[in-house]
């Protein structure tokens, strides 16, 4: 059951827009959000795959106590095994927990399930911080910021890590660094993730180049919901794969000084080229998206996201007006199956969702139109 840490009852509102979707921020035309996630394990306990029910309960209690006791602002702690599948879906769509954590299967291959003792702490309001307990690792803490802000975000998650370490002893070795269940995270245990909006690179067929270049630099290109997810609406998450042998600052430096400026400029360059030389192509794509969202009677999540992506591009390029970028970001969240059902206040079948999603879009984008 939810538990807060004494800082005035925070309460979770699924109607609110998480801070990272509120728009603006540095390089906000291309970068939606910056995320830094740290993986840690507690000494004296096996990793999740070998942990008994008692181990898991103990880890959960130890972490809960330390998380609630060390936070410097309102924090909500949810025992996920006590929540409904629907609530976990909402948390997943808000990117506060992973899909695996929602199912209770992270770190428990072939077993696990909704009853695995596990939890998540969420900072409120804003939901910038989330700390998963008993995911693949005992602790997975993340901070998400709007726009390009990896340095600041790393500082914040680093501070949370220090506060938790004050009362918990981490599994650490000089050679391997912070020991994690999967050797792909060992070392710093740090994963940087930047959510990029790359519609122009997709339109001009340059995405494969970005993927190849990212691969050459040991970066992973993932979809909207991270690992194992598909690209939705031209949103791609770029994240580091190396965690051993490179310090947090070295990784940050590589991303901030080499990789990200190049990708951002590449997307901006293609946008400009489209506007200068193929303006009708881009106007047509934005206009069609507007047409679909205004008139469609059935919309899948993917279709809604794809068309909202073009609307976002149209707004950024001042081709259309009448709404702000945060409104579009919010609609992307509302288009997801869980949030759509939450907005309507009832359970919907897949086919009902398509109808209601189209209804919602028609209502919300009515004020959008081409700029004079």
């Amino acid at each position: 059951m939810p538990e807060s840490n004494g800082h005035s009852d925070p309460g979770m509102s699924y109607d609110a827009t998480p801070e990272w979707l509120r728009g603006g921020g540095e390089a906000g035309d291309v970068v939606l959000s910056s995320r830094v996630r740290i993986a840690r394990n507690i000494v004296g306990f096996p990793f999740m795959s070998r942990a008994s029910e008692t181990d898991r309960k103990q880890v959960l209690e130890l972490c809960r106590k330390q998380i609630l006791g060390s936070a410097d602002g309102p924090l909500l702690f949810l025992d996920l095994h006590g929540t409904s599948q629907f609530e976990r879906l909402l948390l997943t769509e808000r990117q506060l927990i992973s899909r695996q954590h929602s199912k209770g299967k992270a770190g428990c291959p072939g077993r696990g399930g909704p009853d695995v003792p596990r939890g998540v702490a969420i900072s409120l309001p804003g939901e910038r911080v989330s700390i998963m307990v008993n995911e693949e690792d005992h602790l997975r803490m993340q901070v998400i910021s709007v726009g390009l802000a990896l340095g600041k975000t790393l500082e914040q998650v680093d501070l949370i890590d220090d506060r938790l370490e004050e009362g918990l002893t981490y599994a650490f070795s000089p050679r391997f660094g912070y020991q994690t269940a999967c050797p792909t995270n060992v070392g710093t245990g740090v994963r940087f993730g930047v959510m990029l909006h790359l519609p122009a690179l997709r339109m001009t067929g340059q995405l494969d180049k970005v993927r190849r270049a990212a691969g050459d630099m040991s970066l992973a290109v993932r979809g909207f919901f991270g690992e194992g997810s598909e690209a939705l609406g031209d949103f791609y998450q770029l994240s580091n794969q190396t965690t051993l042998g490179k310090s947090e600052q070295m990784l940050l430096h590589d991303l901030n000084n080499e990789i990200l400026p190049a990708v951002i400029e590449y997307e901006r360059g293609e946008r400009k080229r489209l506007m200068d030389r193929r303006r009708s192509t881009i106007e047509d794509a934005v206009g069609r998206a507007l047409g679909v969202l205004r008139n469609a009677r059935l919309l899948t999540t993917e279709e809604a996201m794809q068309n909202l992506s073009m609307i976002r591009l149209g707004l950024v390029l001042d081709l259309i007006g009448g709404m702000d970028e945060p409104d579009i970001n919010q609609l992307m969240l509302r288009a997801q199956p869980g949030h759509l059902q939450h907005t309507l206040g009832r359970e919907l079948s897949q086919s009902e969702r398509r109808v209601e999603r189209a209804n919602l879009m028609r209502r919300r984008v009515a004020s959008l139109g081409f700029s004079a």
Binding site: N41, V43, F45, P46, F47, M48, S49, R50, G107, P109, G110, E136, L154, E155, D158, D161, D162, E165, E166, T169, Y170, A171, F172, S173, P174, R175, F176, G177, Y178, Q179, A181, C182, P183, T184, V186, G187, T188, V190, G215, S218, A220, Q241, T242, T243, L244, G245, K246, S247, E248, Q249, M250, H253, N257, E258
Partner: protein, 183 residues
């Protein structure tokens, strides 16, 4: 193009050349499954590489299991998850090449060290704990060697920015190892 069943779009196309004759099959996923054609999704390069390395490093004769949690390397190969922190020591030899390939040649940790644990051990003056955190002399030496090797590689491939970072890192490691990421 339609599948042989005439219902769905054919998405799997099989061409077999037998005795110099070409046989083509155009099937939907459902019919392909019935024909026993297995469609596996694309495997990410990292995973492919990890599997390759694991297959190369597996030892068929001896079964070593972790003294702390009982995990065997064969079990790790199946799930790609270790059982406890001690597994890193137990399977150090086998994990080494895998780690090196997964982490761009990285073999030793560089970066943050648990601050409070370090502080506590400094206050207590317990050199044992300090060694545990920072590594004993041998581990420091190994770390330095690994960093120096990467520095050579960085210079050879003219990645001067990385080289400068590595030089700083070497200096710090030589000075006593521990440093914070924001130091």
């Amino acid at each position: 193009m339609l599948c042989e069943c005439g219902k769905n779009e054919a998405t799997i196309h099989e061409v077999v050349i037998k005795h110099g004759k070409k046989f083509e099959k155009h099937l939907c996923e459902e019919c392909a499954a019935k024909h026993g054609i297995k469609i596996s999704p694309q495997i990410p390069t990292g995973e492919l590489l990890a599997k390759y390395v694991l297959s190369k490093t597996a030892s068929p004769t001896t079964t070593v299991s972790c003294p702390t949690c009982g995990l065997t390397f064969a079990e790790f190969k199946q799930t790609e998850l270790l059982g406890c922190p001690s597994c890193y020591r137990t399977f150090e030899d086998k994990l080494g090449p895998l780690l090196e390939r997964t982490h761009e040649g990285g073999t030793h940790h560089v970066g943050k060290v648990p601050r409070h644990a370090l502080e506590r051990s400094r206050l207590a003056g317990a050199s044992g704990t300090l060694d545990e955190l920072l590594g004993d002399a041998e581990e420091q030496a190994q770390r330095l060697t690994a960093l120096r090797r990467r520095l050579d590689e960085a210079v050879a491939s003219e990645r001067f920015e990385l080289a400068a970072q590595l030089r700083d890192e070497i200096q710090r490691t030589g000075d006593g190892g521990a440093h914070a990421p924001h130091a």
